[in-house]
C-alpha cells in the first residue's frame, strides 16, 4: 500500500491562478494534494483540556512493606474514574494524553491501552509549579466512530487534578485507501493528464465535513471511585427548575460550512443516571445565540451515556478579526432538572460539532 507524507505545515495553495480557458498547472494540483494530506493526517484535539470541577481528592497513602533486606514504601492508590466521549479521526493511530496533578507523591494514569502509567506531578514551590506529563497511547484499531472511554487517575497523596486533555498525534504518512485517503502528489505533475484516479482522494476529502471537526468542551468529574459508582462529585438535581451544570457558560464557536451560514448545530452527550422512585431527569444545551435546545430524558439507574442532544450556536466568521460574528462571544452551557421524584446525577458532558 502506498503511503504519502503528511506535511508539518500547510502548503496554502492559491486557487487564484485557476481560470477559465487556462490549464490548471501541475504545481497547483500537487500543492492541493499536500494540503489535503496535511488536513487528513493532522489529527484532532480530541479532548480540549479541562479542569475537573472539584477540590482536593484523597489519596491512598503509603504503606511500608517488609522485604528481605529492609522495607519499601508502597503507594496505595485511590482510583478516580472520569468518563469521556471520544470522537476520533480515522487516520489517528496514536494519542497523547496530558495530565496535570498537584501532588507530593506519585500518581498513576489509565485510559484505553495505557494501564497504570506512574508519574510525579509535583507541588507549588517558591519558583516551581506542578508540571504536566504527557502519556502515549497506541491505538489498537482505527475508527471514526464516537465511543465512551474511562480515564482513571490513581492518587497516593491528597492531590488536586488540575487538567486532563488529549490530542491525536499527527501521522507521519497516510495510506492511499478509501478510509485514510492519502493523495499522491506525484501523480499531479505538469505535462501529465489529470485523471480521475489522481484526484479521487481530493474529491472525497473536500466533501468530508468531519475533517477538522472540533470538540468544543469537556466537563467531567469522577463517576467511580475505586471501581464503584460514586455520587460524591457528580452534579445532583432534585428540583424541577433548570439548573446550570457548568460553573459559568463556556465560549463556543463552530466551523462555518457554507458561505452564507451564520449558525451551526452542535451536539452533546452526557454521562448521567438516576436514583430513587419515579426517576426522570432532563438535560438540555443552552446557547447565547440559539436559546434553549431540545431536552433529552435520563431514566437509567446506572451511569450511562445519553444519546445526542443539540443546540444552534454561532459559526466562525472568517471576515472578523476575532472570528466571532459581530465580535461578540457566544456562550453555551448545559442545564439539568428532575421532573420525576428521583435524583439526577450528571458526571460528564462532552460538546462537539
Amino acid at each position: 500500500m502506498a503511503v504519502f507524507r503528511v506535511p508539518v505545515s500547510r502548503y496554502a495553495p492559491s486557487a487564484a491562478g485557476i481560470k477559465n480557458g487556462l490549464p490548471v498547472s501541475g504545481t497547483d494540483w500537487s500543492r492541493l494534494a499536500h494540503e489535503h494530506n496535511w488536513l487528513a493526517g493532522r489529527g484532532r484535539q480530541v479532548l480540549p483540556a479541562w479542569k475537573p470541577d472539584h477540590g482536593q481528592l484523597s489519596g491512598g497513602g503509603y504503606t511500608i512493606v517488609s522485604t528481605g533486606g529492609g522495607s519499601v514504601d508502597t503507594p496505595g492508590f485511590t482510583e478516580y474514574t472520569y468518563g469521556v466521549w471520544m470522537l476520533p479521526t480515522y487516520a489517528a493511530i496514536e494519542r497523547r494524553w496530558g495530565v496535570l496533578v498537584e501532588s507530593a507523591l506519585r500518581s498513576r494514569f489509565s485510559a484505553g491501552s495505557v494501564s497504570d502509567h506512574e508519574f510525579s506531578g509535583g507541588a507549588f514551590g517558591r519558583r516551581d509549579a506542578p508540571t504536566p506529563v504527557e502519556i502515549r497511547e497506541e491505538l489498537a484499531s482505527q475508527s471514526s466512530t464516537g465511543a465512551a472511554l474511562d480515564v482513571t487517575i490513581g492518587l497516593a497523596d491528597d492531590s488536586y487534578v488540575h487538567s486532563i486533555g488529549c490530542y491525536e498525534l499527527p501521522r507521519h504518512s497516510i495510506e492511499d485507501n478509501a478510509n485514510e485517503r492519502g493523495c499522491n502528489p506525484a501523480q499531479l505533475v505538469s505535462g501529465q493528464p489529470i485523471t480521475y484516479e489522481s484526484v479521487e482522494r481530493l474529491y472525497a476529502g473536500q466533501a468530508d465535513n468531519e475533517l477538522g471537526k472540533r470538540v468544543l468542551n469537556v466537563w467531567a468529574v469522577p463517576y467511580e471511585v475505586n471501581g464503584s459508582t460514586s455520587t460524591t462529585y457528580a452534579h445532583t438535581h432534585t428540583s424541577s427548575t433548570w439548573t446550570d451544570i457548568h460553573a459559568a457558560p463556556v465560549p463556543v464557536l463552530a466551523r462555518k460550512d457554507q458561505r452564507s451560514d451564520t449558525t451551526r448545530t452542535v451536539k452533546a452527550r452526557a454521562l448521567a443516571w438516576e436514583a430513587g422512585a419515579s426517576p426522570d431527569g432532563e438535560l438540555r444545551l443552552v446557547s447565547s445565540s440559539g436559546g434553549n435546545g431540545t431536552a433529552i430524558s435520563v431514566t437509567g439507574t446506572t451511569p450511562t451515556w445519553t444519546s445526542e442532544f443539540e443546540v444552534d450556536v454561532d459559526c466562525e466568521d472568517l471576515t472578523e478579526t476575532t472570528g466571532m460574528p459581530g465580535g461578540s462571544w457566544d456562550d453555551v452551557h448545559v442545564e439539568a432538572r428532575e421532573v420525576g421524584t428521583g435524583t439526577l446525577y450528571v458526571a460528564s458532558i462532552v460538546i462537539y460539532e
Binding site: 477559465n20 496530558g98 508540571t131 488540575h162 487538567s163 501521522r171 465535513n209 466562525e316 478579526t321
Partner: protein, 228 residues
C-alpha cells in the same frame, strides 16, 4: 489568514465527479476552495473549562512583600499540537476567568502559549514568556473576589496586547518543533513524526506589595483561528 476563494464550502453533487467525468476549471476551483476552507476551519479548541470559585487553581504568592510583585507560575496545561500556516501559528482566541481573595488590591494574570520542551520550564524563560514585545501572551487584571471572565488589557501599551488574540511568530514557532517516535501505519514500520507542540501557561502577580492576595484561576479558553 483565510486562504479559500469564497470563505465557505461549495456544495457539489458528487455524481458529477464520477470516474468518467472530465475535470474542468470550475470543478478545480471548487475543489481548491473546499480544501482550503476545510484547512482554514480546522483550528481546534485547546482549552475550554470553567469551575466554581472554590475549585479554581490557586497557590500561595510567597512570603514577604516584594516577592509578591514577581510573576508566579500558576498553571501549566497539558501539551497541545497546533495548526500552522506558512511562517506562523494560527491565531489563538483566548479568554481567562479568575478572581482574587484579599482585603484590597488587584492581581494580574498572564496567559502565554509557549514551546512545550523541557527547557521551557526554566525561570528565565518563564519571565520571557510574558515579554511585552511578543504577541504570544495576553494579560488580565481583577480586584474582585468573585470569579468572572476578565477583559484582556494592554498594561505595556504595546499595541499588540489587549485584543484577546495570540500568535506565535515564525521564530517562536521554530522553538515548538518536536519530533516523536511513532509508526508509519497502525502496527507498521517505525517512523518519526515532526510537529509543533506547545503548552498553555498562566502566571500571576500582585499589582501592589500588600496586602497578601490569593489568586484563583477559574476558567480558561484557548482556540485556534486562522484569522481574517
Amino acid at each position: 489568514m483565510s486562504t479559500s476563494l469564497w470563505g465557505g464550502r461549495v456544495a457539489y453533487d458528487t455524481a458529477d465527479w464520477a470516474a468518467t467525468s472530465p475535470v474542468d476549471t470550475v470543478q478545480s476551483r471548487a475543489i481548491a476552495n473546499n480544501i482550503a476552507h476545510a484547512c482554514d476551519s480546522s483550528g481546534q479548541v485547546l482549552e475550554c473549562w470553567t469551575v466554581s470559585d472554590a475549585n479554581g487553581v490557586t497557590r500561595s504568592m510567597g512570603p514577604g512583600t516584594k516577592s509578591t510583585l514577581s510573576w508566579h507560575s500558576l498553571y501549566h496545561g497539558p501539551h497541545h499540537t497546533i495548526r500552522t500556516v506558512a511562517g506562523q501559528s494560527y491565531t489563538m482566541r483566548v479568554r481567562l476567568r479568575g478572581r482574587r481573595v484579599a482585603a484590597s488590591g488587584s492581581v494580574r494574570f498572564g496567559l502565554a502559549v509557549l514551546p512545550a520542551g523541557d527547557g521551557a520550564w526554566s525561570f528565565p524563560l518563564q519571565r520571557n514568556a510574558l515579554d511585552p514585545a511578543y504577541d504570544n501572551a495576553e494579560h488580565f487584571e481583577t480586584s474582585s473576589a468573585t470569579g468572572a471572565w476578565l477583559s484582556p488589557t494592554d498594561p505595556f501599551s504595546s499595541g499588540i496586547h489587549g485584543d484577546g488574540l495570540l500568535t506565535l511568530s515564525e521564530s517562536q514557532l521554530a522553538q515548538c518543533l518536536y519530533s516523536s517516535g511513532t509508526s508509519e501505519t497502525l502496527g507498521g514500520d517505525a517512523a518519526f513524526v515532526t510537529y509543533h507542540r506547545v503548552r498553555v501557561s498562566v502566571y500571576v502577580r500582585q499589582l501592589s506589595e500588600t496586602p497578601a492576595m490569593t489568586p484563583y484561576l477559574t476558567g480558561l479558553y484557548v482556540a485556534e483561528y486562522v484569522g481574517a
